[in-house]
């Protein structure tokens, strides 16, 4: 495959296990994300996609398995190193997760509070905030509260917040869920233009087949806690396996 030419992956999950009591969510999940690619992970609701991505950034502790981001094993990092590594990763949460007691401006300034100096971003905070908002076409909403925005606008602000530290890896947790098809298309367009502008590597979690078709270079199907099938969209859609077909049939 085109992205596997002997380069080390920027992000790698090996044999990941995670259970909640008797609920075995991940049973040896593997994943490699290569530089510049859009990898889509599909799985039905409750299959452990969010759990997987949260283990990946250290928000949850995996029971077993290794998690490597740019050759750092994140399970072995201290809090400080983990914080620094996290500045290289943008995270778009499933429900946008905007801080609802803060304005859009304060939401975007939040990641800058700790990391602006460290990253050597010398621009004025205001400039960075406006640049991020312009990227998602919402500069006029800078002083509104999240509650005053529509769902699609909230998602775009969340995207701007995920991008404000100019991360090289972006993790999207169901970027189009809960949006109408037209707004969902706009978000997908935005994701593509961001990828073109900043040349990022993206891991996209979704159960939206349209989203997967448009954006993916490669796909992994998460079934029963393992990477059940892998390949491009075109390869998977012609598969004979009923569990794979179930994703694509309407």
């Amino acid at each position: 495959m085109e992205f596997e030419n002997n380069i080390a992956p920027v992000l790698e999950l090996n044999n990941l296990y995670k259970s909640f009591g008797e609920n075995h969510v991940l049973n040896g999940f593997n994943l490699k994300l290569y530089k510049g690619e859009n990898l889509v992970v599909m799985g039905k609701s409750g299959s452990g996609k969010s759990v997987m991505i949260k283990c990946l950034v250290g928000l949850m502790q995996a029971d077993r398995g290794s998690i490597k981001i740019k050759d750092h094993d994140i399970t072995k990092l201290g809090q400080k190193e983990l914080d620094i590594l996290r500045t290289e990763i943008g995270f778009l949460f499933q429900g946008s997760a905007l801080y609802d007691s803060m304005t859009v401006r304060e939401n975007l300034e939040f990641p800058l509070r700790r990391h602006k100096k460290q990253l050597g971003l010398n621009d004025h905070t205001e400039t960075l905030v406006l640049e991020a908002l312009n990227n998602v076409g919402l500069a006029h909403a800078i002083d509104l509260m999240p509650a005053e925005l529509s769902g699609g606008m909230q998602r775009r602000v969340a995207l701007a917040r995920a991008l404000i530290l100019k991360p090289k890896i972006i993790l999207y947790d169901e970027p189009t869920t809960g949006l109408d098809p037209i707004t969902a298309k706009e978000i997908i367009q935005l994701m593509r233009s961001i990828q073109d502008t900043y040349n990022t590597s993206s891991l996209i979690i979704t159960h939206d087949v349209d989203c997967a078709r448009v954006i993916s270079n490669r796909m992994i199907l998460l079934v029963d806690g393992i990477n059940y099938a892998e390949g491009t969209y075109e390869e998977l859609i012609v598969s004979n396996d009923p569990k794979v077909q179930a994703f694509f049939k309407n």
């Binding site: 949260k54 928000l59 996290r86 949460f93 997760a97 801080y99 007691s101 990641p111 700790r114 990391h115």
Partner: protein, 216 residues
């Protein structure tokens, strides 16, 4: 169908709670003295909590002083001891009743407000978002709120006490033809700073005891 909870089960739950609270308290003090400090958020929370509780504390204090005076008047009158009213009311309110009542209503109001707010932030993943942005949510959300309530409660108690005495003076003025000036002269003869300061410090410990309500 679960079996009936036995005494031993309850005891286990009790000690688990005590463990939780001890762990929580230890973590609070550890994070409290570790930089970076969130001064801006602390000020914001102080303003928030003081401001939001002010009306409630004022109304409660006023009613407290008013009713207390109204109800004890007949008894004191039987002994011809109305002149003791200002000193009795002020000592009782400033030393004990004011701090207890105001600490209790603030615990109810502020405590449940914080619970609801942080609970909703947890389910909407805002706390996760904070953590991936390199901010320690415990420090930013929990430590600032605990410090803010601890700082604001004594102030609220002083304000509540003052309004309670005002309510009491109002009754005396209407029923007993005592001027406000005379009433407050009597009050300030009766109480000293020594009464206010231990009472407000006591409120600090009420604050901590408020966490123990989870044991009940």
């Amino acid at each position: 169908m679960g079996r009936e909870k036995t005494f031993v089960d309850n005891l286990k739950v009790f000690f688990a709670e005590v463990g939780d609270i001890s762990y929580f308290t230890a973590r609070f003090f550890r994070e409290l003295f570790k930089p970076p400090f969130e001064f801006k958020e602390l000020l914001h929370q102080c303003f928030n909590m003081g401001n939001r509780s002010l009306l409630l504390v004022g109304v409660t204090g006023f009613i407290l002083g008013l009713v207390f005076t109204l109800q004890s008047r007949p008894t004191l009158m039987e002994f011809g001891a109305e002149s003791w009213m200002p000193s009795m009311v002020s000592i009782a309110i400033v030393r004990e009743i004011g701090p207890v009542i105001i600490a209790l209503i603030c615990a109810g109001r502020i405590g449940s407000g914080i619970g609801a707010e942080l609970g909703s932030m947890r389910v909407t993943e805002q706390i996760d978002a904070m953590e991936v942005s390199g901010t320690n949510p415990f420090k930013f959300l929990v430590v600032t709120r605990i410090v803010a309530t601890t700082l604001m409660l004594p102030l609220l108690i002083i304000i509540g006490d003052a309004i309670a005495l005002l309510g009491s003076a109002l009754v005396e003025n209407l029923k007993g033809e005592v001027s406000y000036l005379l009433y407050f002269n009597e009050v300030f003869n009766a109480i000293t700073y020594g009464d206010i300061i231990p009472a407000t410090i006591k409120s600090f410990f009420f604050r901590i005891c408020n966490r123990l309500d989870r044991l009940l």
